[in-house]
Subunit: 196 residues, 2 copies
DNA sequence: ACAAAAACATACTAATTAGTATGTTTTTTG
DNA sequence: CAAAAAACATACTAATTAGTATGTTTTTGT
């Protein structure tokens, strides 16, 4: 019950990298077992289907990694305006787990799977709602602490910011250059300051 | 030289609908010829490959349709703040060519094709740059006409707005309900008013 | 140590894929 | 009207796909 978990995790991680760079549909199981150097038997011992593995990637790789870094980044600054900006700046400019040319893995999954696969839709909805909730709470706390105006709607602001993030990720993919992020970040900073 | 063009256009339109709802990879040529009721011979007479057809969809269907409606919507109001808001409101809430559950066709293409297909990346980059340019010009005109502050950076603002649009489209896909657009639109209105 | 279960390996299958080879029909043009 | 080119039709192919059937090896509990 130790080595087996390691191979399972190895499959998930390697498969994630392949899917993140090539997309879910274009990543075949043969691709995955070739790069992980496990056999098909091992793969289907751990996952009952390709979709089962895809969902496990979201639940076991993306969800914990992103949610924790999301929360700590937001809480790193006293003023949520600084917290939100530094979260987005760092995730776009300094994170080298994410690549400009590949966009946001969650947005990619959503874009590719969502209309025709309800299981994926569901876990992705849960995940994004969790993020929005975290950001809403941050904004509300900022209102209580006097950093943000009382008439700011936390849900609207959070949705607005998350949308911009997903969108600029797609721009980055197209332009294939982190420089594409800069105009967005500049305007984000100005926008965030209007909330105080 | 008349009926042939009609079949070509028919293929492009039906293929677009399939791709818009299911994605490019998951739409097979057999799918396309089944719904268009043309044969494989006809298909490959008009397009030399699947990618050739995909690019034709962008160039001949999406580009003209979107760019023209984009420009006229932006110019419909004297104040660009109203113009931009009504453009986004209408494209999100009133356009029934686009479906919530399928998102933005251009963003879908970008998300799915961009990292591994440079030809698609290129035409999509051209297309989005064109939109950004149009919006920049609108904002600049608004500055000249006194509707928008002089210290507003038109490029930053345009990129910021376009990002938000693409992102909220992805949210809509996940939530599968136009209501997901409303918090975004409310905050967009507030943001746009800070530009005046 | 040994049986049983867990973990992995190999060789297949049936379906689907983009694309082609080779036709026939329809239009156009001289 | 006839030949040539354009437009479409049919039947294939070779590769790839997710998934399975049937093994062997390794680990675990007793």
């Amino acid at each position: 019950m130790k080595k087996a978990q390691a191979t399972r995790l190895n499959i998930l991680q390697k498969a994630f990298e392949l899917i993140y760079s090539k997309g879910y549909q274009t990543t075949s199981i043969d691709d995955i077992i070739a790069t992980t150097e496990v056999t098909k038997g091992a793969f289907y011992y751990h996952f009952k289907s390709k979709d089962d593995m895809g969902l496990a990637i979201i639940e076991e790789i993306l969800k914990p990694a992103l949610t924790s870094s999301f929360i700590t980044a937001l809480q790193s600054k006293e003023n949520p305006i600084d917290g939100i900006y530094s979260l987005l700046y760092n995730i776009l400019m300094n994170n080298d787990y994410f690549k400009v040319e590949y966009g946001c893995p969650v947005a990619n999954f959503a874009s590719e799977m969502t209309p025709w696969n309800s299981k994926f839709s569901h876990v992705l909805e849960e995940l994004t709602k969790e993020w929005i909730e975290v950001m809403i709470n941050t904004v509300e706390k900022g209102k209580k602490d006097g950093f943000i105006r009382q008439n700011v709607n936390a849900k609207h602001v959070s949705t607005f910011i998350m949308s911009g993030y997903w969108g600029i990720r797609n721009f980055g993919k197209i332009e294939n250059d982190k420089k594409a992020y800069l105009p967005y970040l500049e305007e984000l900073k100005i926008y965030l300051n209007t909330l105080s």
